[in-house]
Symmetry: C2
Subunit: 96 residues, 2 copies
């Protein structure tokens, strides 16, 4: 056990962080497309049934070590951020 | 524009969600290894300098559409979950 080990593990975490960053941005971009589609169709942006479906699918596929409560919490923040971003875009569009 | 488009976009989101799930679990597992290393070395688990470094690296690499405030918020939740998990493991170990 050495500082080298710690450094190597931290490099792994940094690499995983960047992959997560890329995916949450990719996700936000797809959600923007969904938002535009829904707006054209006059549909509500927030759909609690859809959120439940996503959380169920995550539960079925969660092999840990994070427990389900934690996974749900992180994803609810991710879901919320995508919705907030759309509201902000919408607000800016109204101000133009 | 049709319900098929919406369904296809939702399938993309589901696929990205599962990739994020896999990565946050992979990350938690590496952080567990780091925690064990630090415990053996008698080091503090929470390191604000390290957290700052991770957030800086994310900022340098964030190409959007999520803004930096949102990225920071999501990652702070992810950081916290990994620390909480270790504290919970430690508490359980003390109770055995």
């Amino acid at each position: 056990m050495s500082n080298l080990d710690l450094e190597q593990l931290r490099e792994k975490v940094d690499a995983v962080n960047l992959q997560i960053l890329s995916l949450i941005n990719e996700r936000a971009s797809i959600v923007q497309d969904i938002g535009q589609l829904k707006e054209k169709q006059g549909m509500e942006k927030f759909d609690p049934m859809r959120e439940r479906h996503m959380l169920d699918l995550l539960k079925e596929n969660n092999s840990g070590p994070l427990d389900q409560k934690t996974v749900d919490h992180i994803f609810k923040e991710i879901f919320k951020s995508a919705l907030d971003m759309q509201e902000e875009d919408h607000r800016k569009a109204l101000l133009v």
